[in-house]
């Protein structure tokens, strides 16, 4: 197996040391004033529509899955050999019209 440089623990530690040495915890008062200046300019927050960003976030999260599902169903339905003359919704409604008790409880064939 080929030796991986990035898995070399010594190099990793050295790079980590260099990375964390960039860290600085400057706590200047000036920064605080500048931040608060920008916050005050932004004004008080409107909380009435707090759910909108969350809803938007949710919509974007499920959007790819919805598109994929829609595409799959489209392909599935176009490739299915459906009889256009047959009343599928009517047949389904008639089927569900009067279910018997054994059908409702899944006891068919128990006699």
């Amino acid at each position: 197996m080929r030796f991986r440089i990035s898995e070399n623990e010594r190099l990793k530690r050295a790079l980590q040391e260099a990375y964390f040495s960039r860290e600085s915890a400057d706590t200047g008062e000036d920064r605080q004033f500048q931040i608060m200046g920008r916050v005050r300019r932004a004004g008080p927050l409107k909380t009435s529509a707090w759910f909108l960003p969350a809803f938007e976030n949710l919509v974007w999260r499920i959007a790819p899955a919805c598109c994929l599902l829609l595409l799959t169903l489209t392909v599935l339905f176009t490739s299915m050999d459906l009889d256009h003359g047959y009343d599928y919704p009517g047949a389904l409604a008639a089927e569900m019209e009067r279910p018997t008790l054994p059908e409702l409880y899944g006891l068919e064939g128990w006699e």
Partner: protein
């Protein structure tokens, strides 16, 4: 400035800010500015850190209505700070403002020394610490904003895939793929540097 919220929890302060008391946000800045400074200065060059820290706090302020109060406020704020750094890099890459550092013989020398097993202490004595920083800057500069953030958080900070996904707001699968890809790119970069050194 008088601290109106001495002893109040972060959640209480958030509630007061949401009720329209903007000045109380000052207490949250005071409490957490060290945390945000540390995060930002690790990810962003020092010349732009100041502006990015301000951006992170303003973004946190504007996002306060989305803070549900169920989780830890520090974690929520850390995630905002990390995402602000990520946005900084996306913007920087788009406008091509990243100064590209070049690799010299001393950087290759440093890499060879580390790989050959010279101790960190002796390297420090030799004054080669800046080489490590420059080499890291060079390698990270060659990566995309996404790969860069993932490599920094997973490989250098040692956070788990799940923690990284929470910080960046990505799926765990995306973090796994990015992490693998960025490590491979780093590998290629380091190999290339060694080859150049041996060839030249």
């Amino acid at each position: 400035m008088k601290d109106h919220s001495l002893g109040a929890s972060d959640e209480d302060i958030v509630r007061q800010v949401l009720d329209g008391n903007v000045d109380v946000f000052d207490s949250l800045v005071k409490r957490h500015r060290v945390l945000v400074s540390k995060i930002v200065t690790r990810h962003v060059p020092s010349r732009d850190a100041e502006e990015t820290i301000q951006d992170a706090f303003v973004r946190a302020y504007l996002s306060l209505p989305t803070f549900t109060g169920k989780g830890d406020f520090r974690k929520w704020l850390s995630s905002i700070a990390v995402r602000t750094c990520y946005d900084y890099w996306r913007k920087a890459y788009r406008s091509m403002e990243i100064p590209m550092s070049t690799m010299t013989e001393k950087h290759r020398h440093w890499l060879e020394e580390v790989l050959s097993g010279q101790s960190i202490e002796s390297r420090r004595e030799a004054g080669l610490k800046s080489e490590a920083k420059e080499l890291l800057g060079y390698a990270l500069g060659k990566l995309s904003a996404e790969d860069r953030m993932v490599l920094e958080i997973v490989y250098l900070e040692g956070l788990s895939v799940k923690e990284t996904a929470n910080l960046l707001g990505w799926s765990t699968a995306n973090v796994k793929v990015r992490s693998f890809r960025s490590r491979r790119k780093l590998e290629r970069l380091l190999r290339g540097m060694r080859r150049q050194g041996k060839g030249g």
